[in-house]
Amino acid sequence: MRPVGRTVWAIPGGHIPLRTTGPEPEETSSDMICLLNAGDRDAKVEITVYYEDREPVGPYRLAVPARRTRQIRFNDLIDPEPLPLDTDFAGVIVSDVPIVVLFARKDTSRAENAIATTLAFPGD
C-alpha cells in the first residue's frame, strides 16, 4: 500500500496528569500517541521530548512494523528516562517512513473522566 502520513510530527501540549481515579490500569491517567504505519516498510521511530526549563531528552526509540498500528503511553517510557508526570512537555516524532500520529489524553484526575484526542502537527 502507498505510505500515508509524514515523517516528522510535533506534539506541543503534553502534560501527563498526576492523579488517577478508578481501577488501574484501565483508568490510569495518561498521554498517549497512536501510530499508524500503513506502508510496506517497518518504521523506525525516534521521539525527542522537550521541556520548559531543561534540555531535551531522547531519543526514545521504538518500531512500528509495516501495515501495523501501535499505541505508546508516554507514562511508560523509561529509556532513556521516564517523563515526569504533572509537567508540561512537547514531543517531536521522527520516522524513517511516513506514518500518521494521533495524540490522546485520558484524564481521570476527577471521577468525571475526560478523553481528548487530536492529530499531531505534521512537520514536513
Partner: protein
C-alpha cells in the same frame, strides 16, 4: 592519585592511588605483602556492577582480570573450580562445555564470580538459595600473603564466612562450586495486573522452578517471569497473557542483557512478610513517587542458606528491589521506602544502595559475631577494610 574508577551505573566514583593487575597468585601474594609492610590497604574489584562502596578506596585497588576460566573440575562430584575474575556469563558457557551448570543465576551475568558471590547475589526461586551457597571451598590470599585453601569439609567456619565475604577476609582467587548437570529451561514472560498476581502469588511461587514479577508503578500492571524444565509446567496462566517465551540452556536463558543503566535498592524480607511489605511499598510509591518513578519494582524469592552474611541466612526470603534511572536522582525515593523494608526486618543487599551500618545489621544476622571473629582472625590489621566496610561492620577501631 590514579585514574578515576566508576561503577556500571555511574553513581560510585573514586580515585585509587594505584590499580594493580597481578597475573597470578604469587604476584598477588607479593602485592599483599608489600601493602602489609607499608601499612596500606587493598580492596579487590570485580567488574564494577555493584553500586555500594564496598570496593571504594584511595589506596590500592586490585583487579582480578587475569584470573579467568576454569582451573579444574570433577565430573563425579559435579564440582568445578573457577578463577575468581571469571564473569558469571563466561562461567556459564565454560561449564556448559563440561556438561555442568550453576543451579541459578541473577537477572544479569556480567559480574565476576567472586564479586557476585561475595555480596550475596541471587536469582529467584523458592527452592533456590543465593548463588554463594554453591561454594564448597576455594583459595584466597590472606593478609599475611599466604595462599590458603578452604573448604566446607576442612574449615566450615571460614567457608561459611567466605561464602558471603564482602571481600573482607582476604582476596579470593578461585572458588570451587557445587553444580548441576547442564539443564534446559523454558522461560516465559506474562502480563497481568498487580491484583491478579497477588491473588495467586503463593501458587505462582510454589508451582514454578524460578518465579519473579515486576510491578510497574505507573500502570499497576505486572510482568510475571517463570522458568521451568521444558514440558514441566502448566501450559497457561489463565489470568495472564503470554508475551515472550524461549527455551534453552539455563546459562543462556536465566540472565538478560541490560543496557539501560539504573541504581537499585534491594532488601531481603522474611518470606511470610513479603506480600504485605510489597503492598506497603506499592501503596507508598503510588501515593508519593509516581511523578518521577516509572521503573519497575522486582519481587523475587530465595531459599534459606547458612552463609553467615547471606541476606537469606536461616530464613525463607522474599527480596524487593527499587530501581531508578542512573541519570535521575534516586536517594529521595530510596530513603522514603527504606524504612518500610526495615519495618519488616529487611536485610539490605550488600552490593546495592542502602544506609544501614553495624548497629542496625548485627541484630538481623544471628552469625554476625562469628563472621567478625573470622574476619579478625584472617585480617587483624584491617588490610582489606576501607572506611565504608569499617562502618558497615563496626570495625572502626581496626
Amino acid at each position: 592519585m590514579g585514574d578515576t574508577w566508576e561503577n556500571w551505573s555511574g553513581s560510585l566514583r573514586f580515585s585509587p592511588k594505584r590499580t594493580e593487575r597481578p597475573e597470578n597468585e604469587n604476584a598477588l601474594s607479593d602485592l599483599v605483602c608489600r601493602a602489609a609492610e607499608g601499612r596500606r590497604t587493598i580492596r579487590p574489584a570485580g567488574t564494577g556492577h555493584s553500586s555500594s562502596p564496598l570496593l571504594a578506596t584511595r589506596d590500592t585497588l586490585v583487579s582480578l582480570d587475569a584470573f579467568r576460566g576454569i582451573e579444574s573440575y570433577d565430573p563425579a562430584k559435579r564440582e568445578a573450580t573457577l578463577w575468581a575474575g571469571t564473569t558469571l556469563g563466561e562461567a556459564g558457557g565454560l561449564l556448559l562445555g563440561l556438561g555442568l551448570a550453576m543451579p541459578n543465576l541473577g537477572d544479569v551475568d556480567v559480574q565476576s564470580v567472586a564479586g557476585a558471590l561475595a555480596t550475596g547475589t541471587h536469582g529467584s526461586g523458592k527452592r533456590l538459595p543465593v548463588l554463594s551457597a554453591m561454594i564448597a571451598g576455594g583459595r584466597m590470599v590472606t593478609a599475611s600473603g599466604e595462599i590458603t585453601e578452604f573448604s566446607l569439609e576442612e574449615d566450615p567456619d571460614l567457608t561459611r564466612a567466605a561464602q558471603v565475604s564482602l571481600g573482607a577476609l582476604g582476596i579470593c582467587t578461585a572458588l570451587t562450586l557445587r553444580l548441576l548437570p547442564a539443564y534446559r529451561l523454558h522461560r516465559r514472560e506474562w502480563c497481568t495486573t498487580a491484583d491478579r498476581c497477588l491473588a495467586h502469588l503463593d501458587d505462582l511461587v510454589d508451582r514454578h522452578r524460578n518465579f519473579d514479577f515486576y510491578w510497574y508503578p505507573r500502570s499497576d500492571r505486572v510482568k510475571l517471569r517463570t522458568m521451568d524444565p521444558p514440558g514441566g509446567a502448566p501450559e497457561s496462566i489463565p489470568y495472564a497473557r503470554l508475551v515472550e517465551e524461549r527455551t534453552g540452556w539455563s546459562s543462556e536463558v536465566i540472565a538478560k542483557v541490560r543496557t539501560l543503566r539504573f541504581d537499585e535498592m534491594e532488601y531481603a524480607i522474611p518470606a511470610e512478610a513479603g506480600p504485605e511489605c510489597f503492598e506497603a511499598v506499592r501503596r507508598r510509591i503510588r501515593e508519593r513517587h509516581r511523578k518521577h518513578v516509572a521503573w519497575r519494582v522486582l519481587y523475587r524469592t530465595v531459599a534459606p542458606d547458612d552463609a553467615y552474611l547471606s541476606t537469606a541466612h536461616s530464613r525463607a526470603t522474599v527480596t524487593i528491589s527499587l530501581h531508578q534511572n542512573a541519570t535521575l536522582p534516586f536517594w529521595g525515593f530510596f530513603h522514603d521506602i527504606e524504612p518500610i523494608f526495615q519495618e519488616y526486618g529487611g536485610r539490605p543487599h550488600w552490593a546495592k544502595k542502602h544506609t544501614m551500618t553495624a548497629d542496625d545489621l548485627e541484630p538481623l544476622y544471628p552469625r554476625w559475631g562469628r563472621f567478625l571473629a573470622v574476619r579478625r582472625r584472617m585480617d587483624p590489621d584491617g588490610l582489606f577494610l576501607n572506611p565504608y566496610l569499617q562502618r558497615l561492620l563496626g570495625e572502626e577501631g581496626t
